[in-house]
C-alpha cells in the first residue's frame, strides 16, 4: 500500500507541474498567436465574427493599410532614428561608468551605484513634463533629437548597471596579464576586456533600442507634429477602426519579441547582478 503511494507521488507531481507549466505557457502564447492572426487577416475578414481561429486566409493587406496610414511611415522612420541615437548616446556615456563600477573599488562607488538604481526607479512621468517645458525654451521640442535626449536619460541607468554586470563577468586578471605583457591600460581594455564583453554589451544595446522603441509617454508629450511610432498610434487611437488597432498592436509588439529571442542567453548575466 505504502509502496504504491510512494511510486505514484513523483509521477503525479510531475504531471501537475507540466499541467501548470502548459497553462501558463498558453496564457503567454495565445495572445501573441491571435494578434498575429488578426494582423494578417484580409481587410474584410478583420471584422468577421466569429473569427477564424486557424490561419486559413492570410493576407498582408491589413498590415500594409496600417503602414501607409497617414504619416505612419515617417513616424516609423523617426522611431528608428530616435532609438538609434539613444542607443549610441546611452552606450557612449554609460559604458565607462559601468566599467568603473565593475573594476575599481573607489570611494563613493556605492553611492554612485545606489543613485543610478534610484534614477532607474524614478517615474518617467515626472521627468517628461518639465522636459516638455525646457525643450520649448531650448527650441528642441518636437524634434527627433529632443526625444532621444529624454530616452537616453531613461536608458542610461539601465546601461550603467548592465554593462557593470557584463564587465564584472570578464576576469580582471586577463587585463592585468595583458598589462604585464606590455599593454597600456587603454590597449589592455581595447584588446582584451572589450572583445570579451562585446556580446553582453550588444545585448544591452539591443535592449536600449527596445526601451526607446516602446516609450510612449515622454515621446507623445515632447512631440506634436513629428511623432514617433507609438506616440502616433496613441494619438490616432480615439475612434480608430479595428484593423488599425490589430495591425498596430502586432507591429509594436513584433520587434520586442524578436529582441528577446536574440538576447535571451544574455538576459541573466545582464539582470542577475542588477538585482543584487
Amino acid at each position: 500500500m505504502t509502496a504504491t503511494r510512494i511510486s505514484w507521488r513523483p509521477w503525479l507531481s510531475r504531471a501537475l507541474s507540466y499541467a501548470t507549466a502548459i497553462v501558463l505557457a498558453l496564457f503567454v502564447l495565445a495572445p501573441i498567436y491571435v494578434i498575429t492572426l488578426a494582423a494578417f487577416s484580409s481587410q474584410t475578414r478583420v471584422y468577421d465574427y466569429p473569427k477564424d481561429l486557424l490561419p486559413r486566409h492570410l493576407s498582408t493587406d491589413t498590415i500594409s493599410f496600417f503602414i501607409h496610414f497617414g504619416g505612419m511611415l515617417d513616424a516609423l522612420q523617426r522611431s528608428v532614428y530616435v532609438a538609434a541615437i539613444t542607443l549610441v548616446l546611452a552606450l557612449v556615456v554609460g559604458t565607462p561608468a559601468g566599467y568603473a563600477l565593475a573594476r575599481f573599488a573607489f570611494r563613493g562607488a556605492d553611492t554612485v551605484r545606489l543613485t543610478v538604481v534610484a534614477t532607474r526607479a524614478f517615474p518617467i512621468v515626472i521627468l517628461s513634463i518639465p522636459l516638455a517645458v525646457i525643450f520649448i525654451r531650448w527650441g528642441i521640442d518636437d524634434t527627433v533629437f529632443g526625444v532621444s535626449i529624454a530616452h537616453t536619460a531613461l536608458a542610461l541607468p539601465f546601461v550603467v548597471l548592465t554593462t557593470a554586470s557584463v564587465f564584472a563577468g570578464v576576469s580582471p586578471e586577463l587585463e592585468e596579464a595583458a598589462m604585464t605583457l606590455g599593454c597600456s591600460r587603454l590597449t589592455a581594455f581595447l584588446r582584451v576586456a572589450l572583445p570579451l564583453a562585446l556580446p553582453g554589451l550588444a545585448a544591452s544595446a539591443i535592449f536600449v533600442f527596445i526601451i526607446s522603441w516602446n516609450e510612449v509617454f515622454a515621446s507623445s508629450l515632447l512631440t506634436l507634429r513629428h511623432r514617433t511610432l507609438p506616440a502616433e498610434v496613441l494619438s490616432l487611437l480615439d475612434g480608430a477602426p479595428l484593423n488599425f488597432r490589430f495591425a498596430g498592436g502586432f507591429f509594436l509588439m513584433a520587434p520586442s519579441l524578436i529582441v528577446i529571442l536574440i538576447i535571451r542567453r544574455y538576459l541573466f548575466s545582464m539582470w542577475g547582478r542588477v538585482v543584487k
Binding site: Y49, A100, V112, A121, I129, P130, P157, M179, V216
Partner: protein
C-alpha cells in the same frame, strides 16, 4: 625582470590611474544631473510656483478636478490587484523553470517572451481578444458557452474594465518579476529545500517556510520596481478603456497635452512620486531582514 619587480611596476601604473574611475563615471553623472536631476527640480518648481510666487494652486486644481478621485482610486486598485496576482504567477513560473523538468528551457523561452513588450502594444493585443467581435467571444461561442457576443469592455461596468487592464498587465509584466525570482532562486542551494522535504514538508510549506524567506532580497527588488511602474499605468489603460477609465498618469498626460497646464500636470506627477516613494519605503521596511537573521 623578476616577478616582484613586475608587480611593483604594475602597482605604480595602477596608482598613477587613481583618478580614472572618477573620470569614467563623470559623463554619466553629468548627463543624469543635467537631464534627470535638473528637470526633477523644475518639476517641483512647476508644481509649487506660479508667476514667481509659491503656491499650492496646482494641487487645489488637481484635487478639485472631477476626474481626480476616479484616477486615484483606479490607480491604487490596479497596483493592489496586479502586483499580488503577478507575484504568485511569477513564483510559479520561476519554480517550474528552476525544477529539473525536461523541457524547462522551452518553458523559460516562452515565459520571458513578453518581457520587452510595451504597455501600449499589450493593451492593443488584449483589445483584440476582449473586443465585442474579438477572440474571447469567438472561442466561447465555438465552445457553446455563449450564443451571442458578450460585451467585455463595457464603459459602464468599471469592474470589467479593471479586469481587462489587470489581465493585460499580468500578461505583459509578469515576465519581469519571473526573471528576478529565477535569478534569486538560482542562488539558493537545493539542499535546503531537499532537507525540508526529507523532514516531511509539503510543497506549500517548502515554498512558504524555506524558499520565500531566502528569496526575500529578490522579492524586495521586484516589489520596488513593479509597484513604482504600476503607479505609472498609462498607455494600456488608454488602449483598452479609451476615456472610460483614467489613472494618475493619464491625467498628468491630459493636463499637459490637452489642456496645456504644466502646473497641474506637475502636481499629478509629484503625487505619483510621493506615492511611489511611500510604498518603496513601506516595502523596504516590511521586508527588512533583522540583523540576527542575516547570513553574511
Amino acid at each position: 625582470m623578476t616577478a616582484v619587480a613586475q608587480q611593483a611596476t604594475l602597482g605604480r601604473r595602477i596608482r598613477r590611474w587613481e583618478g580614472l574611475p572618477y573620470g569614467l563615471i563623470l559623463p554619466t553623472v553629468a548627463y543624469l544631473g543635467l537631464f534627470f536631476g535638473w528637470p526633477m527640480v523644475q518639476a517641483f518648481k512647476l508644481a509649487f510656483r506660479e508667476d514667481g510666487n509659491w503656491t499650492i494652486e496646482p494641487f487645489r486644481s488637481m484635487v478639485n478636478d472631477a476626474n481626480f478621485g476616479e484616477a486615484l482610486k483606479f490607480t491604487l486598485l490596479l497596483v493592489g490587484v496586479i502586483v499580488p496576482i503577478q507575484f504568485v504567477l511569477a513564483l510559479a513560473m520561476a519554480l517550474l523553470v528552476n525544477a529539473k523538468l525536461p523541457g524547462r528551457g522551452l518553458f523559460l523561452a516562452i515565459f520571458i517572451l513578453p518581457l520587452a513588450v510595451s504597455d501600449l502594444a499589450a493593451g492593443l493585443v488584449w483589445q483584440s481578444i476582449l473586443t465585442e467581435r474579438g477572440y474571447l467571444n469567438t472561442v466561447l461561442e465555438k465552445l457553446g458557452l455563449i450564443d451571442q457576443p458578450h460585451i467585455w469592455l463595457d464603459p459602464t461596468k468599471p469592474n470589467q474594465l479593471l479586469f481587462a487592464v489587470v489581465i493585460a498587465e499580468l500578461w505583459r509584466s509578469t515576465a519581469f518579476v519571473m526573471v528576478i525570482f529565477l535569478a534569486g532562486l538560482q542562488g539558493i542551494p537545493k539542499e535546503y529545500s531537499e532537507a525540508a522535504e526529507v523532514f516531511g514538508a509539503g510543497l506549500v510549506q517548502r515554498v512558504w517556510k524555506v524558499i520565500l524567506p531566502m528569496l526575500k532580497p529578490s522579492l524586495q527588488v521586484a516589489l520596488l520596481f513593479r509597484i513604482i511602474f504600476a503607479f505609472e499605468a498609462f498607455a494600456v489603460v488608454i488602449a483598452i478603456t479609451g476615456r472610460a477609465k483614467t489613472t494618475l498618469a493619464t491625467e498628468a498626460w491630459r493636463w499637459q497635452a490637452d489642456y496645456f497646464d504644466s502646473h497641474v500636470a506637475a502636481a499629478y506627477s509629484a503625487l505619483i512620486l510621493v506615492l511611489s516613494l511611500v510604498s518603496a519605503g513601506l516595502v523596504v521596511w516590511l521586508l527588512r531582514t533583522p540583523k540576527e537573521q542575516m547570513l553574511r
